[in-house]
Each structure stands twice: as structure tokens, then as C-alpha cells.
Symmetry: C2
Subunit: 145 residues, 2 copies
Amino acid sequence: MKLSTKGRYGLRAMVDLGIHSEQEPVSISSIAARQQISDRYLEQLIGKLKKAGLVSSVRGAQGGYQLARDPGEISAGDILRVLEGDLMSVTCDGDGDGDTPCCEVSDYCVTRYVWQKVHEGIIAAVDNLTLAELIEQSKGMHGGC
Amino acid sequence: MKLSTKGRYGLRAMVDLGIHSEQEPVSISSIAARQQISDRYLEQLIGKLKKAGLVSSVRGAQGGYQLARDPGEISAGDILRVLEGDLMSVTCDGDGDGDTPCCEVSDYCVTRYVWQKVHEGIIAAVDNLTLAELIEQSKGMHGGC
DNA sequence: GCAAACCCCACTAAATTGCTAGGATTTCCA
DNA sequence: TGGAAATCCTAGCAATTTAGTGGGGTTTGC
């Protein structure tokens, strides 16, 4: 139960875009260099973010990526959902093929109950956190941690 | 970012123990049969829970497991932390070997910031949820979901 | 026209997950 | 006193996921 590099890199890339792409599009290679990430790998992650409509692209030379919306209109949850899949989707222990009802085994709905609670906690946290806020945070700390 | 069977099975096993082990210890095989879980696998999970001090064991014939503490004194978070590892541990993207400071790359502390928020949300959810509450939930629903 | 960039898909080594297997040890009970 | 029932311990293994790498294409500014 941990955040993979997909989510971590994606958050950093989006913050980077927010800071550097206001005037002109930013290339994968420049983000990768600043963030010290494999550019081939980052390319795939940003591809997903583009398909999800969070970033827009400009093809050809001097092209690159830009945020598709205002940073205030993008939440950390939006980014993480794209890259990490459903954030703690609430599933039963049933096989989920639709044939069997969700809960034929005694008392395993506790899982569902717990997960509902956890899910609510996560969603509340990441959906109320805008990219704008993260960018502000990031600008605030120069080198220090 | 999902709950593995470890956490799901562990929660169900603990609820099962809470319901059935008040008088006498309960064997792995009976829990596994009721919960429809591989007993060999469950054995390993309960082993961890024992090492963590959440359940106690009685060896030999007619032995088995019991809750080590009152269900009101065990939280869902306690169980999940044992089986799923740190719940969203807040780590930087630094290599974490202690040699390099946490944040030598520009602005990746946003990861840390986001994760702090998510972590708080999760902890608040699972640590305020007692096993007693889950047992009550479980008893409340007979077959229904 | 050519280089810089995005785009797309396939492959792979390493780690994790969800088990299975084979025992050894302890203890109740007939 | 001899099983049988149970916990304990460690190792292995197939399937999946992760974190990339690789080899191309296509679009576009200069």
C-alpha cells in the first residue's frame, strides 16, 4: 500500500509543467532533466495525462506540453487517479464476475465497510488539494525540505 | 493503490476470531473454512498478526488462536499496518540511503506534501475504526450486503 | 530537408502477490 | 505411550505489476 513512481513522477511533472509552461510548451526531455526521471518512461506517463485531458500537446519542433486547464481546476486526485488507477476502489472479496452476488460468504462485508472509510479519507485528502496549491508549495521551498 | 488479499483476509480473520474465540481458541482450519480462504496462506497472515501481538496462540491439539486484546483496543489500522506494511509511508524520491539529503532535486517535495495529506486521511479513517465496531457491523448483517 | 519534438507499441528484468509444499514441534487425549 | 491435532518455520513458484528500455513512426518549425 504505497505510492508507485507513476504517481510520484506524475505529480512532479505536473508541478513542473505548471511552473514552466505558462509561456510556451515544455518538452519531455526538459522536464525529465529537471526532475531526473527517465524521459522514455515519463513520456508514457504524460501520454496518459494527455489522454485524460489534463495536459495538451503541441507536435513538431519547439513543441511540447502544457496544462490543459488552470492549475486551480486540477486536483492531486485527478492526477493520481489517471496514473495509479482507482484510488482504493471498494471491492468485495466476491470474484466480481457478476454471476455470484457480492456477499455470499459470511461476514466479509467488513472489508467493504473498512474500505469505504479509507476511500472517503483518501478522496477528501487528494480532491481538495489543487495543483495550484502544490505549485505554490513548491515555489516556496528553494532547495530546503 | 489497492488493498491486497493480505489486508482483506486479515480483517475477516480478525472479525472471525472476535466472534468465535471468546470461549476457546479457534484453529486456522476452522477460520479458513468459514471464510473460504486457503488455510496455508491464512496461517502465514495470522503468524504475522501473532508476532505483532494482536493475537495469541495455544499450541498442540485443541489449540488455536484468540485475540490478544479486547476488540475495542484493536483498530483496523493496527491490522492493516501489520499485513500491508506502512499505510502510505511518506517517502521522498531520494534514494533514502541516508547519504544524500532528502530533497536535492528541485521541487519534488510536493510528493511528500501530497502524501502527508493522504496519510493523514487514511490514518484518521482506519485508526478510529475498532475491531469491536467491525464485529458489530458483521453481526448486524446476516447474509445481506 | 532535417532536426526537434510528439506518438505508439512491444519487450524485459526485477519485485510483489497469492499462494503451495514439506516439514518440525508441541500438546491433548484415548 | 502413541497418535492426531494443532501451531510454527522456511522455501519455492506461477502470475501479475512495476519501472523502465528500444525501435520505430509522424508532425512541424526553421
